[in-house]
């Protein structure tokens, strides 16, 4: 079978005219660093547009032998075109028609390997099955099984058939997923339901709206899939319009569980097609075409929307898509035509690499990915393939570097584990000896100091420094570790601490904040690239937060019998931040020798640090303002509320001034024009 397909592909390429005459009307994009889309060489160039005697066609299906079937909705039939294996794309014509006089509004078509034609009819709300010669064999209406649901409607729009001849039907508005019918039309169950998601807005609506108001809102139900495709391993793929782009394509296991990751998709997908070699294409209502590999990684996307310029390769209202050989066929409902695209030399290389990679032939795929990177250095999928190949070849150093480019944190971490392991094996022995030697030496020096006071002059010098106010303030900070409550009392009594030092601590916190972002190891950092870090944003955020906290806390305390002065609050806050100031940076540095296996070390110590900081804040508020426990809790909550109110006020003022400015500007412009 495969051989025949391959042969026919060869025949096809021979027959097609080879000269592409025009530039593509679109640019092609591929995911690059930071999961952003980057422009790349075209993957597909428009080849031709084939006008067909069809009207308002809703679905396209390509059979294994290269025959295209179209649900010719407007003409109440299904048409079969001459096989692409023997005819070139330019000369496609109708070879056979099905269901004339039977079908009313065919919207979905599927053909199995025996040539049996399955049609979903939206006029009759039934599934029709025709044999190869066009004889009606079966008609499945609404299932009568109680399992189907008493009040559920059966509105078949699209369908797919697996190797056991079970029919998966996309029923319009069905919240339970696809209706699964056995070969005799009996309902087996629902399959692969989408899940509903709840947003904060919805939760608030549910809390505050009346029952009548809620009734008027759109029901929060899972969107029903809009189309379905099945691959040669009987894995089912659905596209769902009106859902989040990252959840718009799902791939289901036999058990009906979605195994696709979040992807770069579209919220108006119309059709999807998966070819035997695992390349997936989908088209959305705006004329955007997407190509993925079998695992849901986006390879290319281009926007072929027709803007009225009538250029070759643009789409007005696409309803179906299919791949055959190295061509993509898109059915356009408004044009009544098939728009044909052909892969370019560049895309051929990508596809070769991806096919081998998906089959697990990492090393064999390597030369292709290397060539892809010659074409486009930001093609992130190629880095992933290369990195996996390096890893398999136990070239961990190269793998580490390439995983970095591929932004694969777990791959990076694994490669790092291997490298660290090698280093540990080598240096662990000497390291332990060095540790023993050092501890003995330290003991010896400590003894010497006790006995002969070796370090006495040094200590005197340090005490001398401590006469400087700032140094003293610094030393005072360490008192907070043991006696936080007492220490805040000292501040309040003007005994220790200073505004100057508080400002220094704030500065320190800002520096630590920025530095931790830079020194955190790649697997633990949210930023794939250091240049993604927006330093100015980080600084502004910290400064604004500190300012808001200090202001709000002081304001709240003055109306709720707090004793603290501005000075006390500012200095107290600074000292409360010391766990962060002291430990954030070491934790970030620690992450550089850890792998994701030991992630708990990092996250746990970070949690500990934040908890400690929060506790310090609590004690600070309590001591500085001399509150009871309940008062402290109340004040802190009020402080947060006030912070939010200040931010809101500033925002509203900003909007208002913008409006005033616009208004004045408009008056001047109109006077200028008319006067």
């Amino acid at each position: 079978m495969k051989k025949i397909a391959l042969l026919s592909v060869l025949v096809l390429t021979v027959l097609l005219a080879t000269q592409v005459k025009a530039d593509a009307p679109y640019t092609t994009w591929t995911p690059g660093p930071g999961r952003r889309l980057y422009m790349t060489q075209d993957a597909y160039t428009p080849l031709t547009e084939v006008d067909l005697p069809i009207s308002g066609a809703e679905d396209l299906f390509v059979a294994a032998d290269g025959a295209l079937y179209i649900a010719d909705t407007g003409n109440k039939r299904v048409v079969k075109l001459e096989s692409l294996a023997v005819s070139s794309a330019e000369r496609l014509s109708v070879a056979a028609e099905y269901g004339k006089g039977v079908l009313v509004k065919p919207t979905g078509v599927f053909v199995d390997d025996r040539g049996i034609v399955y049609v979903a009819d939206a006029g009759e709300n039934a599934v029709f099955i025709f044999d190869k010669d066009g004889q009606l064999q079966k008609r499945f209406g609404r299932p009568t099984e109680p399992l189907f649901g008493k009040h559920r409607e059966f509105l078949p729009r699209k369908l797919a058939v697996d190797v056991r001849r079970n029919v998966y039907v996309v029923s319009e508005g069905s919240v339970d997923g696809l209706a699964l019918l056995n070969p005799d039309g009996h309902f087996i169950g629902y399959f692969g339901a989408n899940t509903a998601s709840m947003s904060l807005k919805m939760i608030l609506q549910r809390l505050f709206l009346t029952a009548e108001q809620l009734d008027q809102l759109i029901k929060n139900e899972a969107a029903s899939p809009s189309n379905v495709a099945i691959d040669n391993q009987s894995m089912l793929y659905t596209v769902t319009a009106g859902t989040l782009p990252r959840k718009s394509i799902r791939k289901f296991t036999i058990a009906g569980r979605n195994i696709f990751p979040d992807l770069l998709g579209s919220s108006s997908f119309r059709d999807i097609h998966i070819s035997d070699d695992g390349l997936l294409v989908a088209v959305d209502g705006d004329g955007k075409v997407f190509e993925y590999d079998r695992h849901g990684t986006l390879l290319f996307t281009f926007n072929a929307k027709d803007t009225g310029e009538q250029r070759l390769g643009t789409l007005r209202n696409p309803t179906g898509i299919a791949r055959y050989g190295d061509h993509i066929y898109v059915l356009d409902k408004d044009k009544n035509a098939l728009v044909v695209y052909r892969t370019t030399a560049f895309a051929d290389v990508v596809h070769q690499g991806v096919r081998l990679y998906m089959e697990g032939f990492y090393s064999e795929a390597k030369p292709y990915f290397e060539e892809v990177l010659n074409y486009n250095g930001s093609f992130i999928m190629a880095y992933q393939g290369l990195a996996d190949a390096y890893f398999k070849e136990q070239n961990y150093r190269a793998a580490l570097q390439t995983y970095r480019y591929a932004e694969d944190r777990s791959g990076y971490s694994q490669a790092f584990w291997e490298l660290r392991n090698a280093v540990l094996q080598r240096v662990l022995g000497p390291f332990i000896i060095a540790l023993v030697v050092l501890s003995v030496a330290q003991k010896g020096v400590a003894w010497g100091d006790r006995r002969y006071g070796w370090f006495a002059p040094l200590r005197a010098r340090v005490r001398g420094w401590q006469r400087h106010k700032l140094v003293d303030d610094l030393v005072f900070m360490f008192r907070f570790i043991k006696k936080p409550a007492d220490s805040f009392y000292y501040i309040k009594r003007n005994l220790r601490g200073s505004l100057a030092f508080a400002l220094l601590v704030y500065l320190w916190v800002i520096v630590v904040r920025v530095l931790t972002l830079y020194v955190t190891a790649f697997p633990f950092s949210p930023y794939a690239y250091l240049s993604d870090i927006r330093v100015e944003n980080e600084i502004v955020t910290v400064v604004v937060l500190l300012f808001l906290w200090n202001t709000a806390n002081y304001l709240v305390s003055t109306i709720s019998d707090g004793e603290g002065r501005v000075r006390d609050v500012v200095i107290g806050t600074a000292y409360s931040l010391f766990p962060y100031a002291l430990f954030a940076l070491p934790i970030a540095l620690l992450s550089n020798v850890l792998t994701l296996n030991e992630i708990f070390l990092v996250s746990f110590s970070q949690d500990l640090m934040w908890a400690w900081t929060a506790l310090m804040f609590f004690i600070m508020v309590k001591e500085v303002h001399n509150y009871s426990f309940a008062e402290t809790v109340r004040t802190i909550l009020l402080t947060f509320f006030t912070m939010a109110m200040i931010a809101l006020t500033v925002y509203i003022l900003y909007i208002l001034f913008g409006q005033v400015f616009d208004f004045v500007l408009a008056i001047f412009q109109e006077v200028g024009l008319r006067g």
Binding site: Q19, A22, D23, L373, N376, G377
Partner: protein, 772 residues
């Protein structure tokens, strides 16, 4: 066989002369025309000295005659007919009689029958159309030396237009001076349509095509049906940014080509008759409308229309509310159109291109290329520096230093390198180029640059610095936003995007000042040139108070600026800068792919071949390098590459990330291969114009040069055999003696056979139409 063909052609010729058609449908005469000729009373004596040719109605009188042509005109409609005495073929400017099935309503019929139609804007800025035959205008018509002149006054609306048609050596000249246009009423003149039915044909009654200057050139074959839903509309030199304010930019769209030459044309019967219309004056406000038969009417027709006033939307606040206004003053420009007629072997797009080339030579625009070498050139554009932000500072990323460029050029060792440095200015490509020559120090000092230029010159090449003199980069310092920028009619600054950078546009003052200063210093201090982007293809008017300049003014200003400052290399220059162009960069090697066009032809390439070296778009960004190279060989275009020494990963987070592949390490071998392959083909024909181009078989093209050499390109995936020489799949060869589809069809594949058969078929059919 050949002899029979020739015989038939001669017959056709004679017959054509005998029975010149009287109305459009019979342009390349079929049997019905013959009948009408025999039975119509048109062939009567008009003057004692002259026998009126068949098919010219009584209402037409002879206005002028020269060695090649006779010009007839009709006083009531201002229609004219031109008899080409070489072939006896008659060209019509108008439709004389309608037929059932023409699908012309009253307005369209008047439009087709009148020499001049116009649109005006009423008080509500709604456009309305009047034509000579349906508005009963007051006309004063007079014959003058070699032609006639007329003043047409539409009394109801108070608009008067003057038009003069004269015969010249190569054809007909139509003049519409601005001085003869008067607007006295309340309505405003919006648009004038000049001889809209010139050369129009009915459906597929005539075999032939329309030529539109889209991309490198595009043909629309005459057919009974069309895929087009609306006509082709093409504003010469693109839309006027002064009227629109913002150039729409969508990175997902590969925009259609702007029209860079004011030339249209038609072929009536391939290798039989053709014309081109060249707009000498007024192109800046002209546009092409090309109607394939089947969209509104049953006619194929195309014409030039000229814009005098437009309405525009004046926003009055940022939310987008506003009012529709008509521009305050009428666009002032003269119109001159030359119709040049071609006959016999010149009656195809190659002949049209060569006729335009001839015109440009007459105008002194083209001068033969001074080529010392028989090797082709290669454009190597280097990205010098780009800037990146580090905390709060900006620092340059040196992508290719001058020393690295030297290394690369030494490694390539190719003759005639056209080296362009992009991002030479301090901090690189994303900053404003200075008005005083200052170079990014990380790349090298002035002496290094000078030495680079010297060593390039020693290899026969040129060093140029990239400059977009119109662009004031948004968010950059180095210009005055208040004084230096051009303004739209909406009183906003003009905005656009070039090379993925958002820019404003300079007014003529600032542009001239800045360009002159920099150009002089580059010549003086570096002995290098400029590679000028933008200026060649962006044309905008400036509505700043007190400094108003329309598009015609801008053209004149650019021309005088360049006349003073010498020549430069231009990116996609429009025709008005060709006199100053030493090298043409990014020449289109495709068209925009309008669905109703049937063929892409290298029109621009044929016009400029042998005069201006053409360099294609950078091949790094090509998705099919081999296919594109084939087109380079076919069209006579030299290769281009965009190179850097560093990998492109370094500029991923800069605005230059559209350069996604350029590292020399990756592209070096490809550069050498592409050059060597093309040089073998195009080297021997450097400096020679293209004289013929033919399709030998489907996907096999032959281009012949003036020195007799011919390049055969095989686009197909199979080997073909031409004159006993095998051409491997996707390859090309150079032949010393030319072959033609008509005398040596030895292409040997099945596909080729059938394609060849179709070619033969069309030829015979054409002839059978002629034979009674």
């Amino acid at each position: 066989m050949k002899r029979i063909l020739h015989g038939l052609l001669v017959c056709a010729w004679l017959l054509g002369w005998m029975m010149s058609p009287f109305s459009i449908h019979a342009s390349v005469m079929g049997p019905p025309a013959l009948f009408s000729v025999l039975h119509t009373p048109y062939s009567v004596l008009h003057t004692p000295f002259f026998i009126r040719p068949a098919g010219i109605p009584d209402s037409y009188e002879l206005a002028a005659e020269n060695a090649t042509f006779q010009l007839y005109f009709d006083r009531s409609t201002l229609a004219f007919k031109v008899l080409d005495k070489r072939s006896g073929y008659v060209w019509h400017s108008n439709l004389d009689e309608t037929e059932p099935g023409d699908r012309l309503n009253k307005t369209w019929k008047a439009f087709a029958q009148s020499g001049i139609s116009l649109d005006y804007l009423d008080e509500k800025a709604t456009p309305r159309r009047v034509s000579i035959t349906n508005a009963n205008p007051e006309m004063t018509v007079a014959t003058i030396d070699q032609g006639f002149t007329a003043q047409v006054t539409f009394m109801d609306i108070g608009i008067s237009v003057g038009v003069t048609v004269t015969l010249e050596a190569a054809g007909v000249r139509v003049d519409m001076p601005f001085a003869a246009i008067q607007e006295t009423g309340a309505v405003r003149l919006s648009m004038i349509y000049v001889y809209p039915f010139f050369g129009a044909t009915r459906a597929d009654q005539v075999s032939g095509y329309m030529f539109i200057p889209d991309g490198c050139g595009s043909l629309i074959r005459f057919a009974a049906q069309t895929k087009a839903q609306t006509m082709f509309y093409g504003r010469y030199y693109g839309a006027d940014l002064g009227m629109t304010g913002v150039r729409p930019f969508d990175p997902q769209v590969n925009p259609a080509y702007r029209i860079s030459i004011p030339v249209t044309g038609m072929v009536h019967g391939e290798k039989q008759a053709a014309y081109i219309a060249i707009v000498e004056k007024g192109a800046a406000y002209g546009e092409i409308h090309a109607h394939p038969a089947g969209i509104i009417t049953n006619f194929n027709f195309m014409y030039n229309a000229f814009i005098y006033n437009e309405s525009y939307f004046q926003p009055t606040n940022r939310a987008g509310a506003g009012v529709t206004m008509i521009q305050p003053r009428t666009n002032a420009f003269d119109v001159v159109i030359h119709y040049r007629f071609l006959t016999g072997a010149d009656g195809d797009y190659v002949g049209m291109a060569r006729s335009y080339q001839q015109y440009l030579l007459e105008q002194g625009v083209l001068r033969p290329e001074r080529h010392a070498s028989s090797d082709i050139g290669i454009r190597l554009e280097f990205l010098g520096a780009e800037k990146e932000k580090v905390l709060f500072w900006q620092r340059p990323i040196p992508m290719t230093t001058v020393a690295q460029m030297q290394e690369i050029l030494a490694d390539l060792a190719l003759p005639n390198p056209e080296v362009v440095i992009y991002g030479w200015q301090p901090l690189g490509a994303a900053t404003m180029p200075p008005t005083k020559l200052k170079l990014e120090r990380a790349l090298g000092n002035m002496r290094d640059f000078h030495e680079l230029g010297d060593s390039i010159a020693a290899q026969g090449g040129r060093l140029s610095l990239y400059l977009d003199p119109q662009a004031a980069l948004r968010g950059e310092s180095g210009y005055s936003r208040r004084y230096d920028l051009a303004m739209s009619i909406m009183r906003s600054v003009l905005q656009g995007v070039n090379r993925m950078r958002s820019t404003f546009y300079f007014n003529l003052d600032a542009l001239t000042r800045r360009y002159a200063a920099l150009s002089a210093q580059v010549t003086e201090n570096l002995d290098a040139g400029l590679a000028v982007d933008g200026l060649g293809y962006m044309l905008y008017s400036d509505f700043r108070d007190g400094r108003f300049a329309n598009r015609e003014d801008a053209i004149r200003a650019y021309q005088s600026l360049l006349a003073e400052d010498g020549t430069a290399a231009f990116y996609r220059p429009n025709d008005y800068l060709w006199a100053y162009t030493v090298a043409y960069y990014d020449v289109p090697i495709a068209d925009s792919g309008y669905i109703y066009t049937s063929e892409t032809v290298p029109f621009v390439q044929i016009v400029l071949s042998g005069y201006i070296p053409l360099y294609g778009p950078a091949l790094n960004f090509s998705s099919n390098v081999q296919d594109d190279l084939l087109r380079h060989a076919d069209f006579g275009v030299y290769p281009s590459f965009f190179l850097t020494h560093q990998g492109t990963a370094d500029i991923l987070n800069t605005s230059s990330r559209w350069i996604y592949t350029s590292s020399y390490r990756q592209w070096g071998d490809e550069v050498k291969r592409a050059y060597t392959w093309l040089n073998r083909l195009l080297g021997p024909v450097r400096g020679h114009p293209i004289v013929a181009r033919e399709t030998l078989a489907d996907g096999v093209m032959a281009t012949r040069y003036a020195n007799g050499k011919q390049i055969i390109v095989n686009y197909t995936a199979q080997p073909v055999r031409v004159q006993g020489v095998d051409i491997p799949p996707k390859d090309a060869i150079l032949l010393d003696s030319p072959v033609s589809a008509y005398d040596s069809p030895t292409c040997n594949t099945a596909a080729n056979e059938s394609a060849y058969a179709t070619t033969r078929l069309t030829t015979t059919r054409l002839l059978s139409e002629v034979t009674p």
